[in-house]
Point group: C2
Chain length 204, copies 2
Amino acid sequence: MKEKGLLIVLSGPSGVGKGTVRKAIFSKGGTKFEYSISMTTRKPREGEVDGVDYFFKSKEEFEALIKQDKLLEYAEYVGNYYGTPIDYVKETLDSGKDVFLEIEVQGAKQVREKFPDGLFIFLAPPSLSELQTRITTRGTESDDLINNRMKEARKEIELMRLYDYVVENDQVEAACERINAIVQAEHCRTERVAPRYIKMLEVE
Amino acid sequence: MKEKGLLIVLSGPSGVGKGTVRKAIFSKGGTKFEYSISMTTRKPREGEVDGVDYFFKSKEEFEALIKQDKLLEYAEYVGNYYGTPIDYVKETLDSGKDVFLEIEVQGAKQVREKFPDGLFIFLAPPSLSELQTRITTRGTESDDLINNRMKEARKEIELMRLYDYVVENDQVEAACERINAIVQAEHCRTERVAPRYIKMLEVE
């Protein structure tokens, strides 16, 4: 009878503030989803705690996990691995709790392949919607600068299409509120709710 | 550049409390959507105000509007017509505001045909999810009673499948909160947001 939890993936271009938004979401009590802690081979920074900020592993340990297919997604940045241990995610979802991942866009693509019915949220920079003002006031900025921004914006919009929802990170509080609303709404979607009722009748 | 508003349709089986939930939603300030007042040929009850509770019309006026295709949906109950004037809905959506309809299930079907991308919310009676308890404790209730309830529940679940979301009316406040979350989330759906960004780039 137990319904599976939702896999919630927050991603977006680097520098958009994913980490800040994620921390704000979990800093409040009453959050109904579980944060999946990432694994990394980079050294802990001052104040970082193993099992809280990251699971810190050696390169050998990490590569062994890759070989055993124990990572839901992983990527290499600046010589270090970052990834999401799959067991925790699966066990938590099976127990009926929602799991929240905050990961890079390449990672989100890998997760989409394994969990096509996850909830994918793209965090968009406010600069994207400010673009119009910049275009219409282009007299004040060079054409090269505008064109570069347009090119970047096009790339971001292409990326966005792989996600179910787009949340603009104009203000951290507002972004958190939208993300919470999205999760709440998703639990009310007919394709998630109706099977629960149908199962109930089959119990007969 | 102006984005069209969302058409929000709240419906569900009669007696589920649609009117109570709708009133609770609009009783609070800060609601961002406009309520579409229904039109009826029934006589105003004490305290009801024309243009607030309903638009009160004669049978002849109502039938003229039907002929002119000026109703988004309508139905007849106990010898009286009830319907939704289409002009207000279209003008409000065009102005970029969300419109909220609270209507019967037959009406919702008609609206779905004309506005397939509206947001359809099914208000479900809590009795539906209580069914399981009733089934498992069936010793205390007659088989006939249980079977009747199961039959009714099956019908309701069939109905529910025509909607995008299901909100259980277990508590009015909780139902309102879910409906507000659904509307907020829907505004963040990629298929609604991405075209806005794309349009922005085309302005170039």
